[in-house]
């Protein structure tokens, strides 16, 4: 350790009360900001984890053909084109819509899936 550093550490020279108070306030603000951000990070991480678990469950249910919530019924319309021109009017099939966690999928009448 150099002599100057040792001198500095050994120095008895103080600071004004205002300087100390301002330093304490700045340090407090810094700590408050950091702790608030860390708390928010934990909260967001928890929410994201819960949402991703829900999404994976919804995907599993969709793949396993075990839907939890029926959203409604409707129809699937298929139109046919050949060489860029409409060929037949259209084919309509009744379908049911299911979904979970923002994921929507449909089944036909028999509910079979590929």
């Amino acid at each position: 350790m150099s002599r100057r550093v040792r001198d500095k550490l050994a120095s008895n020279r103080g600071e004004s009360l205002v300087e100390i108070l301002v330093s304490v306030v700045i340090t407090g603000l810094a700590m408050l900001m950091l702790s608030a951000v860390i708390a928010r990070a934990y909260s967001v991480d928890h929410q994201t984890r819960a949402r991703s678990e829900g999404l994976y469950e919804a995907i599993s249910r969709a793949e396993a053909r075990a839907p939890e919530e029926k959203l409604g019924e409707g129809k699937l319309t298929v139109t046919f084109e050949r060489a860029g021109e409409a060929y037949y009017p259209k084919v309509e099939w009744p379908v049911s819509f299911y979904g979970q966690e923002g994921l929507v999928y449909s089944y036909g009448e028999r509910g079979t899936l590929p």
């Binding site: 150099s2 100057r4 550093v5 001198d7 500095k8 103080g14 600071e15 100390i20 301002v22 304490v24 700045i26 340090t27 603000l29 810094a30 700590m31 900001m33 950091l34 951000v37 928010r40 990070a41 967001v44 994201t48 949402r51 991703s52 999404l55 995907i59 969709a62 959203l71 409604g72 019924e73 409707g74 129809k75 699937l76 319309t77 298929v78 139109t79 046919f80 084109e81 050949r82 060929y87 037949y88 009017p89 259209k90 084919v91 379908v95 819509f97 299911y98 979904g99 966690e101 923002g102 994921l103 929507v104 999928y105 449909s106 089944y107 036909g108 009448e109 079979t112 899936l113 590929p114």
Partner: protein, 181 residues
């Protein structure tokens, strides 16, 4: 004497400088944490969107599979179906083309859904091919982004006299545009 040397020689306090340095460090760490949180939280909606696009294709394929393997989907090469708004009619027309010329021109399929809860199902399109041996390949993909999540329903034809049935059906990945899956 350099600035560092002057500072070291200075006998006044350094608490303000240290507090400001600590504030700077905390600010940088906080900013890094916030960026990380933002990136993680943005990944979730993107994942849902990608899965939704896949489910739109999978759903269309599911219904097609159900129709192709339905009990009443025995195609007649004589053309027994008169309802032109039926899938069976389209397939019988193709089968007759194959019988007459050995091949059939493919169709482009456009799928749209109506009903409560259907809004999230993004548009999909498909291609319907019938091979010379009546084997059926139906490819389905997203229209936005074009060609994404392409899947094919490959149906092996069983020909018995003038009747064609599809019992052996499998799903596989596909590339849009070609004849095969």
């Amino acid at each position: 004497m350099s600035l560092v040397q002057k500072k070291l020689a200075d006998r006044s306090g350094a608490s303000m400088v240290i507090a400001l340095l600590l504030f700077l460090v905390c600010s940088v760490v906080s900013a890094m944490i916030l960026v990380s949180i933002h990136q993680n939280s943005m990944r979730m909606p993107q994942m849902v969107e990608e899965q939704q696009q896949y489910q739109a294709v999978s759903s269309a394929l599911c219904v097609l599979k159900e129709k192709v393997t339905a009990d009443d989907m025995a195609l007649s090469l004589a053309g027994s179906t008169t309802d032109i708004n039926s899938f069976k009619y389209v397939l019988e027309q193709m089968a007759q083309e194959v019988k007459a010329s050995g091949s059939a021109q493919p169709y482009t399929l456009r799928f749209s859904v109506d009903g409560e809860g259907a809004q999230a199902l993004t548009p999909v399109r498909g291609e319907l091919h019938m091979a010379g041996n009546y084997d059926l390949t139906i490819k389905v993909c997203n229209t936005q982004p074009e060609g994404a999540n392409a899947l094919a329903l490959v149906c092996k034809a069983q020909v018995s006299g003038d009747t064609i049935t599809y019992s052996e059906v499998r799903v596989q990945g596909a590339v849009m545009g070609g004849d095969g899956a």
